[in-house]
């Protein structure tokens, strides 16, 4: 498969990860676009035999850090955008469930970014602790402690909520 086809196949995951970083769909797509162009430009730097997925997540994450650095003017109220996008199609499912998912997303976006990134990579994208550590270029123990703080916080707030009982 060529590079572009691989990227397109990865788009749903990259967009989901970017949404968890930025909190806003428009920003997420801008971020994914910038990251994809960067990946194509630097395709030769991907080492075959290593995880393409982790490499791409890393590019998305570092691109996001760059973007934030140059774009400090946007306040962090962006979670509203996500809530709207969930509320918009509220008619397609049970309203209480939509509201609950909106609350979960809101809470996720409040988690400090380093913990949130670990959560997104491991819990949402299914990377192993080692893959996440390589991706973030931190020791595996750091991934575990960030992840556990994020997970404990979510378990405290939503652990008693069953999906079916929502």
């Amino acid at each position: 498969m060529d590079a572009k086809a691989e990227l397109v196949e990865m788009l749903p995951k990259l967009r989901r990860f970017a949404l968890g970083l930025t909190g806003a769909p428009d920003r997420a797509d801008d971020l994914v676009q910038a990251a994809c162009l960067k990946a194509l430009e630097r395709w030769h730097q991907w080492r075959p035999g290593t995880s393409l997925r982790s490499w791409l997540f890393r590019i998305v994450q570092t691109t996001w850090i760059d973007q934030k650095r140059f774009d400090a003017r946007r306040p962090t109220t962006s979670e509203e955008s996500v809530l709207h996008s969930i509320a918009d199609d509220a008619q397609s499912g049970a309203p209480e469930l939509k509201r609950l998912l909106g609350e979960v997303m809101e809470e996720v976006l409040k988690i400090p970014e380093d913990q949130r990134v670990a959560l997104l990579l491991v819990t949402v994208e299914g990377l192993s602790y080692q893959e996440a550590a390589d991706c973030l270029q931190v020791p595996i123990g750091t991934v575990m402690s960030r992840l556990s703080r994020a997970r404990r916080r979510l378990a405290d707030r939503f652990g008693g909520v069953g999906l079916l009982g929502a």
Binding site: K4, L37, I86, M105, V122, S148, L163
Partner: protein
């Protein structure tokens, strides 16, 4: 074994070795309180996945797909791929060699290559004397093999030089209108070194000058405090440098060949 949250999470995430996972399963059967905590962790994790999936659903916008389709297709460089991946497997083999004390540490992956930086105004990250030993910043001697390689060797395939294997990565024009080349130099001595550098050519003097150079090599002992994740950071740095300088390019291999054949005259 105490069933704390970290153990339970590692259990849920399938990160525990089989024997430990079995122990956890046995303990869980005896500890209803731990079962509850496990259920809370699992439920909240399910909810997070569900919520993000819900928020992120929908097709990618056409503009995004178009941007990818319209981007230049990456050039495949099988020879350089082979060189770099061979290099990295050597680095790994070196790092994974049995050493007393190392076995006691957690697995740190490839993070044990020390990262040495020169140029970019970043200054020296270390006090070591090996910084950019192969490719020093500043003018390249006109009678050197590196000069010849920059003048005559097209990008893509490695060429052996006394310092190591030279591989051109990309050729571009910088904001001063000079031709610049990004290249790798991979050498193998006591340690395995990989240098990424950018050199630019003064059109009048025909003189190449190194403006960016960064080298990573396998650290000599796990006690060194210099451990920094290697190639990712290095590539980010060269990336940032090239972006800050590039005016046009990178050239296609046919354009680059025409430049080389013409002795780097402006088209």
């Amino acid at each position: 074994m105490e069933l704390n949250d970290e153990i339970l999470m590692a259990y849920v995430d399938g990160e525990l070795p089989a024997d430990e996972a079995e122990k956890v399963a046995q303990r869980l059967a005896e500890e209803p309180e731990a079962q509850m905590r496990l259920a809370r962790l699992q439920r909240s994790a399910d909810l997070v996945r569900y919520a993000i999936d819900e928020a992120a659903q929908g097709e990618p916008p056409p503009a995004l797909l178009k941007a990818i389709q319209d981007a230049p297709t990456p050039t495949t460089r099988p020879d350089a791929f082979a060189t770099i991946s061979k290099l990295w497997s050597d680095v790994r083999a070196w790092m994974e060699r049995p050493t007393p004390g190392l076995a006691a540490l957690p697995v740190w992956g490839v993070a044990m290559a020390a990262l040495l930086v020169a140029g970019l105004g970043l200054g020296r990250l270390t006090g070591g004397s090996e910084i950019a030993r192969d490719v020093a910043l500043g003018p390249i001697a006109p009678n050197s093999s590196l000069h010849d390689a920059l003048e005559t060797v097209g990008s893509g395939a490695p060429t052996p030089l006394p310092q190591g294997d030279f591989t051109g990565i990309a050729t571009f024009v910088d904001q001063d209108g000079r031709f610049c080349r990004e290249f790798d130099l991979a050498s193998r001595g006591e340690t395995v070194d990989l240098t990424v550098a950018v050199a630019c050519r003064d059109a009048v003097a025909g003189q190449w000058s190194v403006e960016f150079s960064m080298e990573e090599h396998a650290a000599s002992s796990v006690d060194e405090t210099l451990f920094a994740p290697a190639s990712g950071a290095m590539h980010e740095a060269v990336d940032t440098f090239v972006r800050s300088r590039v005016k046009d390019g990178p050239f296609l291999s046919t354009q680059e060949k025409a430049l080389i054949d013409s002795g780097w005259r402006q088209p």
